[in-house]
């Protein structure tokens, strides 16, 4: 029989009390809640996570190296495959850099359509994230609701661009095609539908006590830490920093539309959740202002056969994708192929936040935090 006194003495003699054995466990590369081939090596103590070590490289396709052998128009096609949920915004970032190099002036029609398509993509990306967050927290039904409404948006995009996911729509000098005749009508239908559904989602998931308990005060990211880790997008805004390129450095027609930048206060998973749900509403607001008065004009201001010779200078284009700031650095060398291309992808920086905020929490907290960081793994490895 173990005497209570002896146990107590033993606990006091070991510094820090009785210790349990720590163990390592591989989360991924095949794991339901790492959303792709991300591998996290976890140092665990029972249910508590002590350390998180992300291991990358499982979906590296050397997009940057391949881009050195393609011209500015062709690079756009590769960027679809990075952050596939905001492919139009990736295209836009490359287009911005190339347009800066070739000094192309765009007409208002192109800018307006680009903005509308980017915001539609942002909505569908956030809807998908919302559904997947439900699955990560065990509520499978939300996944189907999120996907159902996302499908309506991808249907519209498919009608215009011919693709549902890898749109490949925004090109240097304009757009690939003009918008479909039904585009305006169907976008209005979807907006009317989503307005009702968003409120339903709030009652289904956001107001659920269990969800609030799972997200509030979990994975707290302070604004200092968020800035020093280089995180952007909803992750940074959830921590209380109102950095949104659409406001700070407007491109497209963002300068002339009204919208708010939702900002969190605590920096926990709940703030990141709330910021994204609010961003869906703001994106709808932006589209509503633009959809009725798309200016007339050409959808491409550059001849398709025009050689895109990049002068020997470096160019930088950056946009706010659904996950944060995507920067495209292009170094020209008087040839069509750039000398060097680099992508500053938002997900890479957002991922490393997990090493700072997950330790000390439970295993389930790690899953919740990872879900609210909203990572797209192909964008991390590129």
């Amino acid at each position: 029989m173990i005497e209570v006194g002896s146990l107590k003495a033993r606990m006091e003699s070991t510094p820090g009390g009785l210790k349990t054995e720590e163990y390592f466990v591989n989360m991924g590369p095949q794991h339901p809640s790492t959303h792709g081939v991300l591998r996290l090596v976890l140092k665990m103590d029972g249910e508590t996570v002590r350390e998180v070590i992300p291991v990358l490289g499982y979906i590296h396709r050397s997009i940057e190296k391949i881009a050195e052998h393609l011209n500015g128009r062709q690079i756009v096609h590769l960027t679809d495959r990075m952050d596939y949920l905001s492919s139009a915004m990736n295209n836009w970032a490359v287009s911005l850099a190339v347009e800066e190099a070739l000094q192309i002036e765009l007409n208002p029609r192109i800018e307006t359509i680009r903005t509308i398509v980017a915001e539609l993509e942002r909505i569908q990306s956030h809807l998908l994230w919302w559904g997947v967050l439900g699955i990560d927290l065990g509520a499978v039904t939300t996944f189907f609701y999120g996907f159902r409404d996302r499908e309506m948006i991808t249907d519209i995009l498919e009608e215009t661009t011919g693709a549902r996911l890898t749109l490949n729509y925004i090109q240097p000098g304009g757009l690939m095609f003009d918008i479909h005749p039904h585009f305006v009508k169907r976008v209005k239908e979807v907006l009317a539908h989503l307005k009702i559904k968003i409120c339903e989602y709030e009652t289904l998931l956001s107001e659920n006590v269990i969800l609030q308990n799972r997200l509030r005060n979990v994975g707290i990211l302070t604004s200092e830490k968020a800035i020093s880790m280089g995180s952007t997008g909803p992750v940074l805004r959830g921590s209380g920093v109102a950095l949104d390129l659409r406001k700070q450095k407007p491109y497209g027609v963002y300068g002339s539309v009204e919208f708010d930048v939702p900002v969190g206060s605590v920096g926990d998973s709940w703030d990141r959740y709330w910021v994204r749900v609010e961003e869906i509403r703001q994106s709808m607001r932006i589209i509503e202002q633009l959809i009725d008065n798309i200016p007339e004009g050409k959808f491409m201001v550059m001849k398709p056969a025009k050689k895109l010779t990049l002068p020997k200078k470096s160019y930088f284009g950056q946009v706010e994708t659904a996950r944060g700031i995507l920067g495209v650095y292009i170094q020209g060398c008087e040839k069509e192929e750039p000398h060097r291309v680099h992508f500053r992808s938002p997900n890479f920086n957002n991922l490393w936040v997990i090493t700072q905020i997950a330790p000390g929490g439970k295993m389930a907290d790690l899953v919740a935090t990872l879900s609210t960081l909203d990572l797209v793994i192909p964008d991390i490895d590129r």
Binding site: P32, L137, G138, A139, F144, Y145, R214
Partner: protein, 355 residues
């Protein structure tokens, strides 16, 4: 109306020849097996259909009319799958675990009163037996996780062990309130004691509170969302049965579905009058109209409603975290359970029934 209770065990005891006793024994075993396998099939199908309709899908539609034969097709598929056991697994325990899980289920089926005439055995310590045997189920889960030689399975098993053992306390406390009210441990007498009205209505408030506690606790005991931490698909991939395949996996699956039926049956028996029709005290005319439906139909109808409730909860709520699960049990449910038990004793002493 007076009810005549006759279980299969009673009939075997009153039999005149050994052959008759043997026949009743066979009947009992066959009935138990039939209930287990039939419930597995029906609940599997209905869960898939119901969750599909909650999620704006159709669910199985290809095999048979509206996919009615889907569970059978699934069963055949699982039968033919390769039976894998991981390297360095504890072979004996690994093979045994699903059977232990199913055994616990099977042992409870024996006591369920389906109707006055359909019950395999009516033990005079029925409540104690049910509480004891249902604790057996956690053993299968624990052994499965332990023997799989997999860290995720191990975590699932540890979660399941902690959770199922804790929630059993609340479940038993809730059952004890009914034992106080009905003043019997025998399941048939618990049902008979509700002739004036079901305990959830007849015992003022305490019945309802006990019923809710039992519902939550049994939800946790059968590992369904919001308490499905042992499986925790998005955290532990599949928890304790990650490494199982083929028939052994099917057995876990079967045990899970039949367990859902059993806790619903127990909830119905203890709080919703079992097979007893809906009675309201001395309203003889009303009661006689209610008696027109046979008790077996009443029982199955009530069980269906409770099962639907379980499914509705499962496909709506997110999952709790392990420390929240334990807090809910030890800091909320258990104190309320004790207070409720105390209040019930006052109700019984002062005869404060509603009708």
């Amino acid at each position: 109306m007076s009810w005549e209770i006759q279980t299969i065990a009673d009939r075997a005891a009153g039999a005149t020849s050994m052959a008759e006793v043997g026949a009743y024994l066979v009947l009992g075993v066959v009935l138990g097996l039939a209930i287990v396998s039939l419930m597995g099939l029906i609940l599997n199908y209905s869960e898939r259909k119901i969750c599909a309709h909650i999620q704006c899908r159709l669910g199985p539609m290809r095999v048979g009319f509206h996919g009615l034969l889907q569970p059978i097709a699934d069963g055949v598929k699982l039968l033919f799958k390769e039976d894998i056991s991981p390297r360095n697994a504890d072979r004996l325990v690994y093979i045994m675990a699903p059977f232990i899980s199913l055994l616990a289920t099977f042992l409870i089926v024996v006591t369920v009163p389906f109707s006055p005439l359909v019950q395999i055995a009516d033990l005079n310590i029925g409540v104690v037996y049910v509480a004891a045997v249902s604790g057996f189920g956690v053993l299968g889960v624990l052994l499965a996780g332990w023997s799989s030689n997999n860290k995720w399975s191990m975590m699932g098993a540890m979660r399941a062990g902690a959770q199922m053992v804790s929630y059993e306390l609340s479940a038993v406390l809730a059952l004890l309130t009914v034992v106080l009210l009905s003043q019997s441990l025998k399941l048939s007498e618990v049902v008979l004691s509700q002739e004036q009205g079901w305990w959830i209505f007849r015992a003022p408030v305490v019945g309802l509170v006990a019923c809710v506690i039992f519902f939550v606790a049994s939800c946790a005991e059968i590992n369904r969302t919001p308490f499905d931490l042992a499986e925790g698909e998005s955290e532990l991939t599949a928890g304790f049965h990650t490494e199982y395949s083929g028939l052994r996996f099917a057995l876990f699956f079967l045990a899970e579905f039949v367990n859902m039926f059993l806790v619903s049956a127990m909830l119905v028996t203890f709080f919703l009058g079992g097979w007893m029709p809906f009675h309201l005290g001395g309203l003889t005319g009303f009661n006689e109209v209610m008696d027109l439906l046979p008790p077996g139909i009443w029982f199955l109808g009530k069980v269906t409603v409770v099962v639907l409730l379980f499914m509705w909860v499962r496909w709506t709520f997110p999952r709790l975290r392990i420390d929240q699960v334990m807090n809910l049990e030890w800091k909320i449910l258990l104190p309320i359970g004790f207070a409720n038990l105390f209040l019930t004793s006052i109700v019984v002493l002062l005869d404060l029934y509603l009708f």
